[in-house]
Symmetry: none
Subunit: 193 residues, 4 copies
Amino acid sequence: MEQEVESKRRGPERSEKARIAILTAVAERLLASGYDSLTMEGIAADAGVGKQTIYRWWKTKGDLVADSLVEGFLIPDVFSPKNTGDIRADLTNWLKTIAKFLKTDTNSELLRSLVIASVNNPEVGENMYNRLGVIAMFNERFRAAIASGELPADTQVMEIGDALFGSIVLRVLRHGKIDETFITQIVNLLLPK
Amino acid sequence: MEQEVESKRRGPERSEKARIAILTAVAERLLASGYDSLTMEGIAADAGVGKQTIYRWWKTKGDLVADSLVEGFLIPDVFSPKNTGDIRADLTNWLKTIAKFLKTDTNSELLRSLVIASVNNPEVGENMYNRLGVIAMFNERFRAAIASGELPADTQVMEIGDALFGSIVLRVLRHGKIDETFITQIVNLLLPK
Amino acid sequence: MEQEVESKRRGPERSEKARIAILTAVAERLLASGYDSLTMEGIAADAGVGKQTIYRWWKTKGDLVADSLVEGFLIPDVFSPKNTGDIRADLTNWLKTIAKFLKTDTNSELLRSLVIASVNNPEVGENMYNRLGVIAMFNERFRAAIASGELPADTQVMEIGDALFGSIVLRVLRHGKIDETFITQIVNLLLPK
Amino acid sequence: MEQEVESKRRGPERSEKARIAILTAVAERLLASGYDSLTMEGIAADAGVGKQTIYRWWKTKGDLVADSLVEGFLIPDVFSPKNTGDIRADLTNWLKTIAKFLKTDTNSELLRSLVIASVNNPEVGENMYNRLGVIAMFNERFRAAIASGELPADTQVMEIGDALFGSIVLRVLRHGKIDETFITQIVNLLLPK
DNA sequence: CGGTAACCGAGACGGTACGTCTCGTCTTGGG
DNA sequence: CCCAAGACGAGACGTACCGTCTCGGTTACCG
């Protein structure tokens, strides 16, 4: 991950242009041809940057992916669940957004790449949760539903979250579809009326 | 994957000794230091085999892992669920076996390696299900429970399976524990009394 | 070189068809793309022959080339010098035949290949002398000229031969021309009127 | 006013240490065991260098040999012919130096290796001429002899050179001796009194 | 205002591994 | 015992990247 800012130093400041170029190159490569083709030399070439500029600010490939993810180069900002007061409806709608996103080969391949990256760097996994709104859905929306009495206080929130997102990951790993039937079934299973 | 047997050809037959040596080497490397250190040259050296002998019979690294998995070099034969007539007890016991297996760093690292391998080769994923008894648990034990009336006929068997195994995979990816608490909670969630 | 025939042995006799196919394949490869592309596997494939059949009868690549040369697959039978009673005229005519032969890229490349082969197998060099008529020219035609009194008895026959053929080899090695001027000059130099 | 046309390159300069190590390794391998054992991997290993560093600067094995030759790693600097005013004596002495050099198996094997290398790279042949003093002998010493009237103006200098050096090459190819008798005879033949 | 420390691009370096090719030997089954 | 086929252990080929190091050039603070 990126280093912290020091108090005062000499010399030029970090080039924002280079930083953006690098994270953009990471995203383009990842989306275009998957994790295997994500080479440091390729990124440097695409970004028009020296390799040292990459290694100066990121230690590993996983850090690069994590950062590119955090900064929104990989997954759009559309996965914040709404709160209409109906937890089942909100969950279903959120799942539909995810299903739509994963419908393209590019995006499901991206998710597979992120799974690989998260093996080498746990931060990738965490950020993936964030970008896809998993945290927002379960840590916030579900907690709110409990607070409002819509759900019982002993609801196993994180277990439901893992079961739900785990189902999705498994399906994507085996190139399966995330369709309406699946959404209905999984919601019924994990959030019975 | 391995080629099919032809009708009749001339020349020496495939060396079983080499085949075993290769699959053993794959398993040893995978268990010892993960997917990243699984190099074709290393496998060949460990197995005392020419590289061409590997490429003659397997096209990709994923094929090697899939075969090593299928032939039982990676995961032991201990995950067949029992049928005591009590589906909750049988599921819980099966989960405990898996939890015990994944308790060691070696084995949880192995599962992470298999997840990576399954991205490049879907067969790895399928065979992982088989070896860990996921198929046996859900396609057989659950079906039997439905047949015996222990479970309702409309039980979403595969959805439960994915949710359960997906939870485990997610937990292992983020180096989390699979403990008794988790087992109790997930069973309660997915198989309510 | 090929093995000697034993007195009596069991089993089928050596396949003449295979022998010819192999020597033909050697010649074709050598003429088509030079010594570097002369691989044992390529020869076997071209000849429709098992590799062992080659190794059974020839020990080295050089032996193959030597045999292909001896049997006339590489250099045609047109280099026997005539004896018109005029040694200068006969030598000049013989040189013109050689010059014509070496005019094509294929043949000059062949000679370069034979030079390489002769480094690994001296027999190739000797047979090259034979096929190009060097032996016939100097060991026979020159001796005859001495016997008939056309040349002095102390003529350094083999030295002249080496000087002449050496000039040609050097020129071919450096891709130089063997033209009429060269022939006139070298004859004047080595066989002064 | 002169313009600074050369745009200075950025980045590290070529490593002279690596360059010398590589050419030395080429020479050692060539002298120790001939052209066949001259492998790129072996050179890289001997020189303590990555293979890419070789391929970065030399395209072929022949280029390596040519460079090693040019830089004097293969043939010593002792073949400049003298000018005593007696061309026959100078030629004879030069030939004796060469004969002495070629007396060892190592050096005659080296010459055979250089002949092979020159087939793939004409520069090797040219540089061999230079290092052995052939150019100096014929293009300079002979021209001087003509200028001083010691030799007739129409002397076929290069033809004599080729005939002489060709004789030597042929003899070395067939593992023959370059002895005093040979030298006397060839000088008498090509430079009659 | 000159020194100097950290930035940048480029890219050479010693390495590892890739997947392919060929070597020479060995092993089948058929003639 | 010959033959075609071809598997085998071995190892070189030339390429792609790795992560480190070294250039010359460019800021931007600091004394």
